[in-house]
């Protein structure tokens, strides 16, 4: 077999390129966080509704749809639920469990929320819409979930919500469920680490 002396090669250029690939992949993981949220918001995947829940949601400046857009030809049943997450000593329930609405119609409903503890607490509600295909057509005009809510000791409040189901919603959608999960804001970290330590 023919044989030759190996030619010395400088590897550093290739190594640097490969390290850039690694750094890019690492950054990609973090870029996925906002990308994921944008994707869910645009498409309604994951039941994220079209209005951002943080203050000043995307759709707040939208005027209510003109009456001409109301599609009186069909009715959609909207069901409301709410859950209070562990660590928040509150109770919540919708004033109505369900209502029938025409697509395009502006509607209102309130949740009754009560603080059962003897101190003021701040919470944040996170909405979710099922089925996912309906989420992007469920437009919240006004919602207590846009802001953090503070309840004084023992206080009860009716928290309002105004919404429109857009007429573009698919014909196959006959029921939509809107559910809220209320989370404690300041207690959250402590309760988690407290449970971790308690075990």
């Amino acid at each position: 077999m023919e044989q030759v002396q190996p030619t010395p090669r400088n590897h550093s250029r290739l190594v640097v390129k490969l390290l850039l690939l690694v750094a890019g992949a690492f950054l990609f993981a973090f870029a996925l966080v906002p990308l994921y949220n944008v994707l869910c918001e645009v498409t309604g995947f994951n039941g994220k509704t079209s209005a951002g829940f943080a203050s000043g949601g995307l759709k707040t400046e939208l005027a209510p749809a003109p009456a001409s857009r109301v599609d009186t030809g069909r009715l959609i049943r909207i069901e409301f639920t709410g859950t209070v997450m562990p660590g928040l000593p509150w109770e919540m329930r919708p004033l109505k469990v369900s209502m029938d609405v025409h697509p395009g119609e502006l509607q209102q409903i309130s949740y009754l929320v009560r603080n059962t503890a003897n101190r003021a607490i701040t919470g944040q509600a996170v909405p979710s819409v099922t089925p996912g295909q309906a989420a992007q057509h469920f437009e919240k005009i006004e919602c207590f979930c846009f802001d953090q809510q503070t309840l004084a000791a023992g206080e009860a409040q009716e928290m309002p919500l105004a919404f429109i189901v857009s007429p573009e919603v698919g014909r196959d959608i006959t029921h939509i469920t809107l559910s809220y999960a209320f989370f404690s804001i300041e207690g959250q970290r402590q309760t988690l680490s407290a449970t971790a330590e308690a075990r």
């Binding site: 077999m1 002396q5 190996p6």
Partner: protein, 533 residues
């Protein structure tokens, strides 16, 4: 024949001999030494991970809780999986790469020898970190190891005890080690091939490893990112995976499986690269479909990056996403089928003999085929709703990872052991090991398909009475499987110690540069490179 026998640590006649004994191993930059260390580490961790899961199988022998509390059970399964994947299978593949790549492509060593040394020596501390919480718990420190399963799903992993932190740290270190190893492989393959060896003349083993290395570089950093977010969620008040703060636990599943699915191909591509060499050798025929196999490797590598969500079809994904992930997953079976076809065609009408490596290779083809077929069943969204998180999945991925991964590695070990040590292993013991392994492997995992179909969930230490018989069978199988592996270790050990001298071309039909060298090869080989025509 050369006097330097690296495998049993004799003195080194050429340079590098600054140290002897342990310091030599700590400082070595020789690819053969490092390969030996990787393989030894892998074998040890294989037994560590195996012991953990035998305890689990013992608990599952009969319904009810006999041996352990559910918390400890959960810790054992999660750490078992991490040890097997990161500390047994991956280091075995890296050990192969270190030992064989330079020999097969005619290079004097790996391109970055110092990095190579570091890559290995990160492993033992990482393995220690992973298992240490078990021991700390004995002294009343913490509440044991990671108890979330190997997948670290939030929010459980956000709330878990300090075992999670240890595991996160261990995964970081293991990841850095693998990234170093991959960079080394890529640079070696791109820059150090013998003159005349174009990429399309390169041995398939090198091709398989090249794709693995690129997949590792593209996906391991994403896992590192995900567990870093987990760490900051746990300790620094971020809320990546916490719905209260606008985060999302499903996001973690996306990040994890963006790494996790390619990982299964990372584990297997080196084995798929090695198979055609073994099949061609013992069929005494050239490899069938070299190009088809190379393209299949590439296609599988690319596709593996875009199918991840099939691991959580039941998490509430929207229908269009379900359909996309179902079809893209099923599409992977096409290049995989091409590989199966090439393997079988290589054997077709060959003058076959069945030495131990060939037995393992044929066993691999049959059993890994079952893994692929059951994977297709799981990829069906409608069916997966029933099978997800059941023992069916456990059986599926053990056909993929034990029969496909571990048995593939054993194929390689028997095939190359005479080259490494210069001695023949005991063929009788090897064959006994093979038959005990296949029979007990099927005894262990075949019943788990039926348990899963009947509704037994995975990761639960207790089960309903109707599952008792099949679980008892599975446990008996697992015990035989576990203890048969001692034969493997014994066979390797005796082969290192001595035995019939091996020829340079150990196997009659073997082709390739590695067989032009003596067995064992000199400590420094291909310092004068061969020229490929």
């Amino acid at each position: 024949m050369n006097t330097a026998t690296t495998a049993n640590g004799h003195a080194d006649p050429h340079g590098e001999g600054h140290y002897s004994g342990p310091l030599r191993w700590l400082t070595t930059t020789n690819h053969k030494d490092i390969g030996t260390m990787y393989l030894t580490f892998s074998l040890i961790m294989f037994f560590v991970g195996g012991a953990m899961i035998l305890a689990v199988r013992a608990e599952l022998f009969s319904p009810g809780l006999q041996l352990m509390q559910p918390e400890f059970f959960n810790q054992l399964i999660g750490v078992h999986a991490l040890v097997m994947i990161f500390a047994a299978l991956m280091p075995a593949a890296t050990g192969f790469a270190n030992w064989m790549l330079p020999l097969m492509i005619g290079a004097p060593d790996m391109a970055l020898p110092r990095l190579n040394n570091w890559g290995f020596w990160l492993l033992p501390p990482a393995a220690l970190l992973l298992t240490m919480p078990f021991f700390l718990a004995l002294f009343g420190i913490g509440d044991g190891a990671l108890a979330t399963g190997w997948t670290f799903y939030a929010p459980l992993s956000v709330q878990g005890g300090m075992g999670v932190d240890f595991a996160i740290l261990a995964v970081h270190i293991l990841g850095i080690s693998s990234i170093m190893g991959s960079i080394n492989v890529i640079v070696t393959i791109f820059n150090m091939r013998a003159p005349g060896m174009t990429l399309m003349k390169m041995p398939l083993f090198a091709w398989g490893w090249l794709i693995t290395a690129f997949l590792l570089l593209a996906t391991l950093p994403v896992l590192a990112g995900a567990v870093t977010m987990l760490l900051t969620d746990r300790h620094f008040g971020t809320q990546f995976f916490d719905a209260a703060g606008g985060g999302d636990p499903i996001l973690f599943q996306h990040l994890f499986w963006f790494f996790g699915h390619p990982e299964v191909y990372i584990l297997l591509l080196p084995v798929w690269g090695l198979m055609p060499h073994v099949l061609a050798t013992f069929s005494r025929k050239p490899t069938y479909g070299y190009k088809a196999q190379v393209y299949s490797f590439i296609v599988i590598g690319v596709l593996s990056l875009v199918v991840w969500a099939h691991h959580f079809f039941t998490a509430g994904l929207p229908v269009p996403a379900l359909i996309y992930f179902m079809f893209s997953t099923m599409a992977i079976s096409i290049p995989l089928a091409v590989l199966f076809f090439c393997w079988i065609a290589t054997m077709w009408k060959g003058a076959m003999t069945f030495e131990t490596p060939m037995l393992f290779a044929v066993g691999f083809i049959v059993l890994f085929g079952i893994a692929g077929l059951t994977g297709l069943i799981l990829a069906d969204v409608a069916a997966d709703a029933q099978y997800h998180h059941s023992y069916f999945v456990v059986a599926h991925f053990h056909y993929a990872l034990f029969a496909g991964g571990i048995m593939g590695v054993m194929t390689g070990v028997y095939y190359w052991l005479p080259k490494w040590t210069g001695h023949m292993y005991s063929e009788k013991l090897g064959k006994l090991h093979f038959w005990l392994t296949v029979v007990s492997f099927n005894l262990t995992f075949m019943p788990q398909f039926f348990l899963g179909l009947a509704g037994m969930p995975r990761r639960i230490p207790d089960y309903a009475l109707q599952f008792a018989e099949f679980n008892a069978i599975s446990t008996v199988g697992a015990m035989i499987l576990g203890f048969s592996q001692l034969l493997f270790a014994w066979n390797i050990w005796s082969c290192i110690r001595g035995g019939e001298k091996a020829e340079p071309r150990v196997w009659e039909g073997a082709e390739g540069l590695e067989w032009e060298l003596s067995s064992p090869p000199p400590h420094h080989s291909w310092e004068i490179q061969p020229v490929i025509k």
